[in-house]
């Protein structure tokens, strides 16, 4: 059962910060169990991983690998297909560097959208620069949505990589990854999925959807910062180059420069990993599973529909994505600069974000260089939405300037 009061009690920030936190697409609050997992490492388990010469180190190495299993189960992958990275940005850079740079050739096409987060598009810019591949963009609707028809129309034989967020951090639409993968695979292209905004919010099954790579961050799913995941099909991981080299990722090397790398996923994890962050991510994944990703999605969707309806009733608002199904609502208050509005909402105890949300090439499309993003999660409530709507009503230039007096 989804018990919102019980859930809210799990998050110390909700008790302490006393704000309606609606910037969950940026990062999320952490439940007590995650905090405990991290502290437990500091107070009872501190030691490095990958070696078992003494009990502490053996235990923590084991738990570190258990975390891999937990994450694998969470997205229906095999543990050996789970690479721990420092975050979604690194996961996506790793694919671009380790796979794209190695296997793409001049004239190959990377198909993407204009709604991508910088972390899912800039690494591909770089690949293009180095190997001579090109990026093509799937046309989006006026509401920034990609239709399957548009995707089909944009696919062709030269497309080798489809790089796309499953949920855009600005527009919040859920892309039908399974259909996208089927079509891409028919053309022999691989699908690199940016799951930073989907894995925390919707049930994920990589075996079912068929995505070839999936990158996401711990901190956006109730886990610590400093840890992310790259899922990759094992055969692809085996072929891929690591992004970093160093301790732990190699089995042997000699003075002549010969390096024998370990198998995936270990060859990608050079250096001491973010141990307590990985243990915290394990706790986060267990926490989310205990609530149920389906429940989380449904609750968030209900909340979104509620907020969306109310927002549409306001006549001082331009609302860019009324039809998205996740908790991301992107809008502007007419005549008020986004940052002024966000600052005003702040004084009303509401944490939302203004800006272009790292998806700078989307700007031209929705013709608003700056927007306000309200992003909900399963611990938000209708009461908070009401508070937010009331504050939006009051958002005028006068009131925005009034906060300084």
């Amino acid at each position: 059962m989804f018990d919102i009061n019980k859930i809210r009690a799990d998050f110390p920030m909700i008790q302490n910060a006393k704000v309606a936190y609606m910037d969950n697409a940026a990062t999320t609050f952490k439940p007590q169990c995650v905090i405990d997992a991290v502290t437990n490492y500091y107070t009872h388990q501190t030691s490095n991983v990958h070696r078992g010469d003494y009990d502490l180190s053996y235990q923590v190495s084991k738990e570190y690998e258990d975390a891999r299993v937990a994450v694998a189960e969470f997205i229906h992958a095999e543990p050996k297909e789970i690479i721990f990275t420092s975050g979604a940005s690194m996961s996506l850079n790793l694919v671009a560097y380790g796979y794209g740079r190695k296997f793409l050739k001049k004239g190959d096409v990377i198909l993407s959208t204009e709604a991508e987060h910088a972390s899912n598009i800039l690494p591909w810019f770089k690949v293009c620069e180095e190997v001579g591949a090109v990026i093509e963009y799937i046309p989006l609707s006026n509401e920034g949505e990609m239709t399957i028809e548009a995707f089909k129309g944009a696919m062709h034989d030269k497309v080798k990589i489809v790089a796309m967020a499953e949920v855009s951090n600005v527009m919040g639409y859920i892309q039908p990854m399974k259909e996208i993968c089927q079509i891409a695979h028919e053309y022999g292209a691989l699908v690199v999925c940016d799951g930073a905004q989907s894995v925390p919010h919707v049930p994920i099954d990589v075996k079912d959807s068929g995505v070839d790579f999936l990158g996401f961050s711990g901190h956006k799913m109730c886990g610590p910062t400093g840890v992310g995941v790259l899922y990759g099909r094992f055969d692809l991981l085996q072929q891929m180059d690591p992004f970093m080299l160093g301790g732990g990722s190699n089995a042997r090397f000699d003075i002549c420069g010969n390096i024998l790398l370990k198998d995936a996923p270990y060859k990608f994890e050079a250096g001491t990993p973010a141990i307590e962050a990985v243990l915290g991510l394990k706790a986060a994944v267990e926490y989310l599973r205990s609530i149920g990703m389906k429940n989380i999605y449904e609750y968030e969707h209900e909340l979104r529909v509620y907020a969306s309806k109310k927002l549409q009733e306001l006549d001082n608002i331009t609302f860019y994505n009324p039809n998205a199904s996740t908790g991301i609502l992107t809008f502007n208050v007419n005549g008020v600069f986004a940052q002024d509005a966000a600052s005003f909402l702040n004084t009303k105890g509401i944490a939302v974000r203004s800006g272009n949300h790292c998806a700078k090439i989307l700007i031209e499309l929705i013709e608003a260089s700056e927007t306000i993003r309200c992003s909900l999660y399963f611990y938000n409530t209708k009461e908070e939405v009401d508070q937010f709507i009331e504050a939006c009503k009051e958002t005028t230039v006068e009131n925005c300037v009034g906060i300084f007096f």
Binding site: D340, S343, T347, G402, F405
Partner: protein, 148 residues
Amino acid sequence: MTSLLNDPQVLRELIMDHYQYPRHHALKEDTSYASVHMASDSCIDDITVQSKIEGDLIQDICFDGVACTIATASTSMMTELLVGKTIDEANLIIDNYYAMIDEKEYDPEILQEAIALKGVSKQANRIKCATIGWKAIRQMIDERENAK
């Protein structure tokens, strides 16, 4: 005047007025102008400020860009205050402005209308907005002085 400038209502309207009708708000296609592009990391203001300084005199300042109320109004006020001033006079005004923003001692007479922004320190996250244009002109003055 000082008494009028103590009335929050008046100060507020000054900001509104400078936001809605910013002064010197158009860039020049004139190569005798120095130019600085300011894009803050932590907010979304993105403006370009230009200045024409001849000898010791600030002959003109102008700006344009995408910016919030505070960035726009504070930059607009800055242009009004500094155009026509000598470098020394300008530096004195700039120093006073920063002192006000940092909640240190300053001379309100020198800042005139710009004291409308004294409340910015209440919202620490907006201090960058209130100083973005001022930072630009200081940078251009400094560069000029260093080049000497």
